[in-house]
Symmetry: C2
Subunit: 470 residues, 2 copies
Amino acid sequence: MLSQTFKDRLIQIVGKENVDDSKAGRLVYSYDATPQFQSMPDIIASPRNTKEVADIVKLCSECKVPIVPRGSGTNLCAGTCPTEGGLVLLFKHMNQIIEIDEENLTITVQPGIITLDMIHAVEEKGLFYPPDPSSMKISSIGGNINENSGGLRGLKYGVTRDYVLALEIVLPNGDIIRTGGKLAKDVAGYDLTRLFVGSEGTLGIITEATLKLIPMPETKKTMLALFQDLEAAARSVSKIIANKIIPTTLEFLDQPTLIAVEDFAKIGLPTNVKAVLLIEQDGSPEVVNRDMDKMAAICLEEDAEAVQVANSEEEADALRTARRVALSALARLKPTTILEDATVPRSEIAKMVRAINEIAEKYRVNISTFGHAGDGNLHPTCLTDVRNKEEIERVEQAFAEIFEKAIELGGTITGEHGVGVMKAPYLEWKLGKEGIAAMKAIKASFDPLNIMNPGKVFAKDSRKRVVVTR
Amino acid sequence: MLSQTFKDRLIQIVGKENVDDSKAGRLVYSYDATPQFQSMPDIIASPRNTKEVADIVKLCSECKVPIVPRGSGTNLCAGTCPTEGGLVLLFKHMNQIIEIDEENLTITVQPGIITLDMIHAVEEKGLFYPPDPSSMKISSIGGNINENSGGLRGLKYGVTRDYVLALEIVLPNGDIIRTGGKLAKDVAGYDLTRLFVGSEGTLGIITEATLKLIPMPETKKTMLALFQDLEAAARSVSKIIANKIIPTTLEFLDQPTLIAVEDFAKIGLPTNVKAVLLIEQDGSPEVVNRDMDKMAAICLEEDAEAVQVANSEEEADALRTARRVALSALARLKPTTILEDATVPRSEIAKMVRAINEIAEKYRVNISTFGHAGDGNLHPTCLTDVRNKEEIERVEQAFAEIFEKAIELGGTITGEHGVGVMKAPYLEWKLGKEGIAAMKAIKASFDPLNIMNPGKVFAKDSRKRVVVTR
């Protein structure tokens, strides 16, 4: 319980209308897009500017109240679930585009802006901001930066990290710092900018960001390749890259996902094939046409049943939508959907897809797989029901084994969703005790009171490694 | 003075032939490519593997002996000058390519490999490692990573940071950790990989690195644009980017640099113009031809006197060489050459070039300027003589004012050379006290005994800001 004094002081900082400790208000921010995690915050505050954020941080620091900065709560790692109560910080007033700089190809924004709104503003200038997390219609840029969001264009264009040039940050002690600049090159000290990207709100509060833009590619083409064999699809992915083509998008959907998507979106997807690859290339027309032809030929060589090139932007958009709605479509089928993002080097995708299917069978759980095949970032998705405790236990065992397999193949426990609460027990599998210790030392050096999004990234207890019998 | 016991234990770790504390041996490693900095180390050690590095680190930690990891010493910030004595760590035995992975487009190397040797090996496979610091014939990859080296292709392709996927690191406590992987996406905890890139050997010792490769562009073209007006050259740079063309290279050389280079290399450069831009584009032939035509037209619109396209790879190579030898050519003219790399947003290049010339005049010092105009990373280069104390004082005042101007224009004190000892007193100008405090906290959390390259990045005293009269 927070004291009345704390509440009064908070109201002094942001105004009465920007503080909410009603039960209904707190309930709204007690969970995010991650199933199975809920915890009530004590109070919600919506600061109007950086100074107010700094004052809130100082107040929370003085009173040792946890702060959970929250964008739109679309993350899938319970990263914004207020597991230790405290104050949820919203950015609904800090959602402006400060500047689009067409000479330096940058945009400067406040953290609360919705990703897609920002992308539209950028595209109006003929410019391009490539990171496109599937949640971009709802997600905020502040959330994207804190989670280092990926998306469908990561293979060619990288992830959020690759576009963050400068940050304004409120540190846990209330200091306001600025990192980086509108600069392609800056080596003045440690790279605090990238340290904060993906730090999940555990090191400080990002209050402004300058992002890199690039010229909009001239043209884009989209196609589907249909396979009766999962491994043929995976082989095609490897072969495309080995042929020195880097497409914008190289997405994989398995048959259960295809059926769910078609049932949901009715876009005429083939549902009688075992897997499809959604392939896109952008750039100059000559390069796009040549690359698309080459990729189609490679898929056919690798036993694709057919290759369908979208004939219009509408058709292309329908195909992209098919991929983007995969999660929503699957989520309709069962009360609980658990989406994971074990990631492997792209050469290991065939092995990983095979392992996921074997593990699902072993634990008798229902797992569909789709994801960013081109960058090895798969989303095995389990349809289940949290009320079935016995099944949920098998689901957790299955995912633990999936994480173990990903690491065994040189991969990671999370490619783009973050660690949060959900993956924290597995982090040691990837980093070892020594790596965790190094990260904890960084956390302690920034936030000795542990008030910044406590309980995230670092687990109280690590899971034991599953003994995989080979 | 190190004890005999320390020396004996070091010999036990790496063998007698890999330890040198002779005066001649120590003298060799008492300085690097940075003028005006020299300091004797106590001993030199050349470990043969990661285990030996870890054992050395543990020994130095126990005995509180500073460790200065050193590649080829080509840095320009006195980053490898052993200012506090101690042990210089060489990587001459750890210079192998461990693997080129053509399926995942990665190369894994030991830190001691020479950058250009690695690039040649990569190019033999039809692949491309873009970062190309001017020192690449001599520099090592370990040094490049520790300094986050840039180069001539930074505008289009980014810097070393953008290509480091995974590291093996020996921490100051002797722990060996592995960060990242052959993964385009990995958000398992804080981004230790990028924190170590550019950390100048102050946080740990990098013993292995996996770097991202990309397909080799199909073709490349090179041209020179000649200007009688510095600002017309700068305007052309801005206009090219504003026209949504991102060339591979967009380099600037002023007249004094041109004269020095031509005198040195005799390649037929025009010396009767005030400035040239060296422009390159790579990619598919159609795109390259179109972009080159557009860029030539823009330069001519902006009053370029002439545009000369290289007609052969030999001609192109001569032009690139002109830029690459700029420092060596200038260095011949006077006993001491001080090369700086104040960096500004590219929209501010014209203002920055003008300010550099005004400052040079004000302090009556001889400054030539060349550099990476496309990314705002300029190299004002002062020809002087360290023996002339009075002049050196004016040179230092001039550079302080140049740094101040760069920051005023939204830039930074160093774009690609690093902070080291040389720029440490100015770091606070860029980061503020609060930013420095955050970085020092990171340093203390990794290296509480301050044995890792001590005296670098953080200065004992900060310089006062120059009062610029406007």
